[in-house]
């Protein structure tokens, strides 16, 4: 069974600084996809970024980028120029290419300090 581990239950960052959230996963599959979701206090789950395992290039979405290390099964999220609105719970998620069910990590609560 696939597992997703987020080893940092809580993180904090100063406004305008950079923070990196860690995620590791365990799989024997070669075809899979990885995601980061954000859950602000409103409780809405928002897709932040996705990464296809077959792509070597790290995904980037504005201030959000990932460091995808396939051999190490690591998928960290970097948030640059942190803003107060980035404060949220962040979930890492995995899905194998032949299925549709997401497996989530337990989340990292990010606090942005003014």
């Amino acid at each position: 069974a696939q597992t997703v581990t987020q080893s940092q239950p809580e993180m904090s960052v100063q406004e305008a600084e950079t923070v990196t959230l860690s995620c590791t996963y365990d799989t024997s599959e070669s075809d899979y996809y990885l995601f980061w979701y954000k859950q602000p206090p409103s409780r809405q789950m928002i897709l932040v970024i996705r990464q296809e395992a077959y792509k070597q290039q790290n995904a980037t979405e504005n201030r959000f980028s990932v460091n995808f290390q396939k051999a190490a099964k690591s998928f960290s999220l970097k948030i640059s120029d942190s803003q107060l609105g980035d404060a949220a719970m962040y979930f890492c998620a995995y899905v194998r290419g032949s299925a549709r069910q997401l497996t989530f990590g337990s989340g990292t609560q990010l606090t942005v300090l003014p």
């Binding site: 409103s42 409780r43 809405q44 296809e52 290419g97 989530f104």
Partner: protein, 115 residues
């Protein structure tokens, strides 16, 4: 564009009662999912559906029933609610079709309290 909606947003019920949580999506996505979110567990999959009339169990299906007679609706029923089913429930949908479209889009969630 309504997207994906859930109702009710909040529900309090008593142990042993039946309760149904509704989920409706306007994108005609093939796949729909139900998750529960509990502190320390992230989101866990209860049931999912690949198309109308096709459903399958997820990680934590016990005590729940689903149906999907129409593509756009995916109700979740707790047949006899227990306190352990107190949680936040999320519905999600995902397009079917070709490779590369695996992300899921979530509804706003339903907070259910069983007393």
């Amino acid at each position: 564009d309504a997207g994906i909606t859930q109702s009710p947003r909040y529900k309090i019920t008593e142990t042993g009662r039946q309760v149904t949580l509704m989920c409706h999506q306007t994108w005609s996505h093939s796949y729909m999912f139900w998750y529960r979110q509990d502190l320390g567990h992230g989101l866990r999959l209860i049931y999912y559906s690949a198309a109308a009339d096709i459903t399958d169990k997820g990680e934590v299906p016990d005590g729940y029933v689903v149906s999907r007679s129409k593509t756009e609706n995916f109700p979740l029923t707790l047949e006899s609610a227990t306190r352990s089913q107190t949680s936040v429930y999320f519905c999600a949908s995902s397009p079917g079709g070709g490779q590369g479209v695996y992300e899921q889009y979530f509804g706003p969630g339903t907070r259910l309290t069983v007393t």
